[in-house]
C-alpha cells in the first residue's frame, strides 16, 4: 500500500464527511432546495450499487450483450418514465399531505393510517438487512485496496456512512450521493475507453464478439437474447430492477427533493445520461471482457476486477476502486437514511429531532453492521428477495394513490399490500426455483418455476386492489372516499 493510495482514500472519506456537514439542513428528513444536477446524480447513485457495476457487469461476460436489456430498462423505465410520470405527482402529493416518508405518503394518500407502521417496519427491516450486504461488499472491495481485516473495514465504513447520515440528514445524503455518482460515471467511462482501445474500437469489438460460438448460457450467441429459462430470467431481472424500483422507499424519497415541474423535466436528460453511460458502459465492458480475458473466469464477480488490473494504470485502478466503493456507499447511505426514517417515524411515530435522529441512525447502522458480520442463509435470502418483496407490498398502493388521489377505499390499499407481499413470499418459498429449491426443495413445474415472484406479487396485488374496491363500492357506495 503506497502513501498516495492511503491519501486518496483518506481524502475521499474526509470529502464525504465535509460535504455532509457543509450542506446539512435543519430537518434530517427534508432536503431544502437542491440543484437539478445533484438531484439527478443522487437518484442514479442510489439506484446503482456495486451489484450493477461489478456483479451484473461480470454476468455480461457470461451472457453477452443481452445484459444491455437491463441497462436499457433501467434507463427508460427506471429513469425516464419515473421522472416523466411519477416524480412530480409524488412531490405534489407529498407536499399536500405533508408526508415525510414514503410510507406516510402511501398511508395518508390511501386513508389507511395503519399502513404507515406496516410499510415502515417492512421496508425498514428489509432495507437494514439489504444494507448489510451492501456494507459487506464495500468492505471486501476496500480490503482489496487497503489490506485491513474485513471486520475492521466493515465497521469503519458503517461508522463513516452513519456519521455522514447523522450530520447531513436527507440533504447531506443527496449531495454525497451526487459526488459518488459523478465518480462512478468517471470510473466506468475510463474503463470502457480502455476496453475499446484494447480491442481497436467499438466496431472491431462487436465484430469479434459476434463471431464467438454460442455457450450454454448465451445459447444464441453473445449478441442475442438466450432461449429458454436464461432469457426469461433476464427479462424478469430487467422488470424487477426497472419497474420494481418505482416503489422502493429510498427512490420515492428522492422525489421529495424536487422543486418544480420544469426542473423535474430538466433532470431527465442528466439522469438518463448518467444512467445510460454508467450502467450501459459497465455491461458493454463486461461483455467485451470475454475477448480480453477469454472464457475461463472462475466467477462473474472476478471479471471487472481482472479487467481493471489488466487494462488500467495505477491512477485508473484507484479511480475505478473509488467508483465501485462509491456505488456501494451511496446506496448504503440512502438505505441507512430511509431505514432510520422508517423505523423512527413510521413505526415509532417519533418526530426525529436531532437527538432522536442520532439514535435512530445509530441503531439502524449497528443492526446493519451486525447482520453483515453474522451473515447466514436467512440474511442472504432476505438480501436476494428484499427488493421484490418491498415492491410487491408497496407498488400497487403507491401507484393507485398517485392515480386515484385517495378515491379508492382504504381496504383496497391494505388488500393490495398484504396480498402482494404474501403471494410473493409464497412464490419465493415454493415455486420460484432459484429461491424455493434452497428453502423448501419445491418448485413449480416447467417454465412456471422461472416466473419471478415480482410478477406474481404485483399481479395478485393489483387484482386484490380491484376486487376489494369493487366489493366495497357495490356493498356500500356511500362509504367510498369517506376516508379521504
Amino acid at each position: 500500500m503506497s502513501l498516495t493510495t492511503l491519501l486518496i482514500w483518506i481524502t475521499y472519506g474526509a470529502a464525504l464527511l465535509f460535504l455532509s456537514r457543509r450542506v446539512a439542513a435543519k430537518d434530517a428528513l427534508s432536503s431544502g432546495r437542491v440543484p437539478v444536477l445533484i438531484q439527478a446524480l443522487a437518484y442514479v447513485a442510489t439506484y446503482l450499487s456495486a451489484v450493477a457495476l461489478v456483479g451484473f457487469a461480470g454476468l455480461a461476460h457470461r451472457y453477452g450483450l443481452q445484459m444491455l436489456l437491463i441497462a436499457a430498462g433501467n434507463a427508460w423505465f427506471g429513469v425516464w418514465f419515473v421522472y416523466r410520470y411519477l416524480a412530480w405527482p409524488t412531490k405534489l402529493l407529498q407536499r399536500k399531505l405533508d408526508a415525510k416518508t414514503p410510507a406516510e405518503l402511501i398511508a395518508r394518500g390511501s386513508g389507511a393510517p395503519g399502513l404507515q407502521p406496516f410499510l415502515g417496519l417492512l421496508s425498514g427491516g428489509l432495507l437494514i438487512v439489504y444494507g448489510s450486504a451492501v456494507f459487506k461488499g464495500a468492505a471486501l472491495m476496500m480490503q482489496g485496496a487497503l489490506p485491513w481485516s474485513e471486520s475492521a473495514w466493515l465497521w469503519t465504513l458503517v461508522a463513516l456512512v452513519a456519521i455522514s447520515v447523522v450530520w447531513g440528514g436527507f440533504r447531506g445524503v443527496l449531495y454525497t450521493e451526487a459526488l459518488q455518482g459523478f465518480i462512478m460515471f468517471l470510473g466506468v467511462t475510463y474503463l470502457v475507453a480502455a476496453v475499446l482501445r484494447t480491442l481497436g474500437g467499438p466496431l472491431a469489438g462487436l465484430s469479434a464478439l459476434a463471431k464467438l460460438p454460442p455457450t450454454p448460457e448465451a445459447n444464441r450467441g453473445f449478441l442475442a437474447l438466450s432461449e429458454g429459462g436464461a432469457g426469461l430470467n433476464l427479462i424478469f431481472l430487467m422488470l424487477v430492477t426497472s419497474v420494481g424500483v418505482w416503489a422502493q422507499p429510498q427512490m420515492i424519497q428522492r422525489h421529495f427533493a424536487l422543486v418544480s415541474r420544469e426542473r423535474t423535466r430538466s433532470a431527465i436528460p442528466l439522469a438518463m445520461l448518467a444512467m445510460g453511460i454508467t450502467v450501459g458502459g459497465a455491461y458493454l465492458a463486461g461483455a467485451l471482457a470475454r475477448l480480453i480475458l477469454g472464457p475461463e473466469v472462475t466467477s462473474p464477480d472476478h471479471v471487472v476486477p481482472m479487467l481493471v488490473r489488466q487494462l488500467l494504470p495505477e491512477a485508473g485502478r484507484q479511480l475505478f476502486a473509488l467508483a465501485v466503493v462509491s456505488a456501494s456507499l451511496s446506496t448504503a447511505s440512502a438505505l441507512l437514511h430511509i431505514a432510520s426514517a422508517c423505523l423512527g417515524r413510521d413505526v415509532l411515530r417519533r418526530p426525529l429531532e436531532r437527538g432522536e435522529w442520532r439514535v435512530a441512525v445509530a441503531v439502524s447502522a449497528g443492526l446493519s453492521g451486525l447482520f453483515a458480520a453474522k451473515s447466514g442463509a436467512i440474511i442472504a435470502w432476505i438480501c436476494a428477495t428484499s427488493w421484490s418483496l418491498v415492491a410487491c407490498a408497496a407498488l400497487v398502493p403507491y401507484l393507485t394513490v398517485l392515480a386515484l388521489k385517495g378515491r379508492a377505499p382504504a381496504g383496497a390499499a391494505w388488500a393490495a399490500s398484504l396480498t402482494g407481499l404474501s403471494s410473493a413470499c409464497l412464490w419465493h418459498a415454493v415455486a420460484y426455483a432459484p429461491t424455493s429449491m434452497k428453502l423448501t426443495g419445491l418448485a413449480a413445474p416447467g417454465i412456471l418455476s422461472a416466473i419471478h415472484p415480482f410478477l406474481i406479487g404485483t399481479t395478485s396485488s393489483a387484482l386484490a386492489f380491484g376486487l376489494v374496491w369493487v366489493l366495497v363500492s357495490h356493498r356500500a357506495p356511500a362509504t367510498v372516499g369517506e376516508t379521504n
Binding site: L65, Q66, L68, L69, A71, A72, G73, A75, W76, W80, L203, A204, L206, S207, L209, A210, R220, G221, L223, A224, L225, S266, I268, P269, L270, M272, L273, G276, I277, G280
Partner: protein, 42 residues
C-alpha cells in the same frame, strides 16, 4: 470484410436495447444543449 456484419448476429431484443441506449444518450445530450441555449437566450 464488412465491419457492420455483427449487426446480422444481433437479434431484435438486443438491437432494441442497444439502439435505445444510444438513442437515449443522443436525446439527452440534445436536450441538455437545448436547455443551455434556452438559459442563454433568457
Amino acid at each position: 470484410m464488412n465491419e457492420w456484419s455483427w449487426l446480422n448476429g444481433m437479434d431484435g431484443w438486443v438491437l432494441t436495447a442497444f439502439g435505445s441506449l444510444l438513442l437515449g444518450t443522443v436525446w439527452s445530450l440534445a436536450d441538455l444543449l437545448r436547455q443551455a441555449r434556452g438559459r442563454r437566450a433568457a
